[in-house]
């Protein structure tokens, strides 16, 4: 009798902590993420400490920072990723603000703003080359307006930045709009009845409630921009001005077949990204992060 009782109570004690048969449902997901994400990542990490040419386990990392051509990629990537993410988030705010509430043609306008997602990197690249190229429509219009020489906007930093904005803006906009729609509109109405002007409502109510969402939006936009690869090759100058970390990692690993060094660069890429995201998320902890929907 006592044995049966003990057994039952253990089951209940576990259930009390949330451990019961439902957790078996986690098994496929957990196995999957360990097998296809954690294991390869750790494998890459240990591989990066086994340099191809032997020597110190840290040789790959030492090489990376001693070789200016490689070390520079960190700054090049940040210098593309940070402005692109910042621009996409900041530009999303006023536009998302105008898109709140219900009005005619809202769905059409949202769709229009989201369409660049469908363009893909190659069409964007081809389009940028053709449109902003020295004989493209943009420069033709500039010349017609009296410019002395065509602006150089492709095969350099600007081309890649434009490409990142075109592909990244729709995501940033959708997320911002979604966060903004989550803020209970009666909060602003309440502030209005208390005498807050439009500007004051924006500053004291909307912005503080939106800021944590913007931090997340910035992080996701940054990840997107930081991973830049195909457009840096196609509209950038992949051997120089836009020699980003992705290109370095790819070329080392799959073109030069130095998987150890390639993994090391990939790990450094992850590290840089985690640092940036970490800083943003730490700043986010200083903000209010509770419900933004008022009550209910």
């Amino acid at each position: 009798m006592t044995a049966v009782l003990e057994r039952a109570s253990l089951k209940h004690r576990l259930a009390e902590k949330g451990v019961d048969r439902v957790l078996w449902l986690l098994l496929p997901g957990a196995v999957f993420v360990i097998l296809l994400f954690v294991y390869p990542f750790l494998y890459g990490l240990q591989l990066s400490f086994q340099p191809k040419g032997g020597g110190s386990p840290f040789q790959n990392y030492i090489t990376f920072f001693q070789d200016d051509y490689l070390a520079e990629t960190v700054w090049i990537t940040l210098w593309l990723g940070l402005p692109a993410a910042l621009f996409n988030v900041l530009a999303s705010i006023p536009i998302a603000f105008r898109m709140r509430g219900r009005f005619r043609g809202k769905r059409a306008l949202t769709t229009l703003l989201v369409i660049p997602i469908t363009l893909g990197t190659v069409l964007t690249a081809e389009g940028l080359l053709a449109f902003f190229g020295p004989t493209g429509w943009f420069n033709r219009i500039l010349m017609a307006l009296g410019a002395d020489e065509p602006a150089k906007l492709t095969h350099n930093y600007w081309g890649v930045l434009f490409s990142l904005i075109i592909t990244g803006f729709p995501f940033a906009f959708l997320l911002t709009l979604s966060y903004l729609s989550g803020i209970d509109p009666t909060l602003e109405q309440a502030a209005a009845t208390l005498g807050a002007s439009k500007r004051q409502r924006f500053r004291t109510i909307t912005m503080p409630l939106l800021a944590p969402g913007l931090a997340v939006t910035f992080c996701l936009s940054f990840v997107l921009a930081f991973s830049v690869f195909p457009s840096a090759v196609m509209v950038g100058n992949p051997a120089g001005e836009t020699h980003v970390m992705s290109i370095a990692a790819y070329e080392t690993a799959l073109r030069d077949n130095d998987f150890a060094m390639g993994s090391a660069i990939a790990m450094l890429m992850a590290l840089v990204m985690l640092i940036v995201i970490g800083v943003v998320l730490i700043w986010r902890t200083t903000l209010y992060r509770g419900a933004t929907g008022g009550k209910g």
Binding site: V22, P40, V122, L123, R140, I166, A249, A266
Partner: protein
Amino acid sequence: MRLTARPIVWLTWGALAFFMLNLVGIVGAVVTNSFAETWFGTWLPDGYTGKWYGEAWRDYRLLDVLGVTFQVAIAVVVISVLIGVPTAYALARRNFPGKKLLNVLFLLPILMPPMTYGIPLATVLYKFHLAGSMFGVIAANLVPAVPFVVLTMTPFIEQIDTKIESAARMCGANTFAIFTRVLAPLLVPGILAASILVLVRTVGMFELTFLTAGPTSQTLVVSLYEAMSSAGIRPQQMVDSMAVIYTGSMLLLLVIALRFVNPTQLVTRLKEP
């Protein structure tokens, strides 16, 4: 709701219009070129033709490529839903030791640039001779897809009242019946939304497919990139017509997606008054 035109409003719409104008120019340039006989250094091409589409279709074997793309995308959607939904259910319904760790594990593949785990993953796949095959491409694409399903489905399941399950249990339904008869119909809209987003993401995913695909397992994005980097062999117009085909199919997917997903409610759901 006052219609006073303040400068910030005009600035916003003005900037947006400028952005859109450039976008139209960018897309227009590609579309125009895909129909151009020859176009070099003038406002508009010398003549128009539709032949590049036919040639691109044949030369790049687009039927095969589209077939591969379709197979990969469907496989990724089905597998990621099968793995992701049960996981999301457990995460939504239970608090257990180690839940935070698991949550982080499911968040990381979405947060990490694909290159960072793609290169080690490709290395591992090459080690086990799985790279270059359809299997490798599907496996690689699942890495961000499964967490994506988990992430979108967890809040969706959380908002379904647990009392509904209790009620079904009180009516005598067992766990299996609860899943198939009660939860599944309620989850369909969420699963549909997540599936479509995964589909769009997979068709558009460049890096992971690029790193793991072989000549017979390329999806449309990757063969497009290959076609562009090896340009010079074939006329630019062919690459452009292929890019237009890609964008056309993505647009179709997106229009379908927007039928089912309200883009403004991706993060939070607030009842509209």
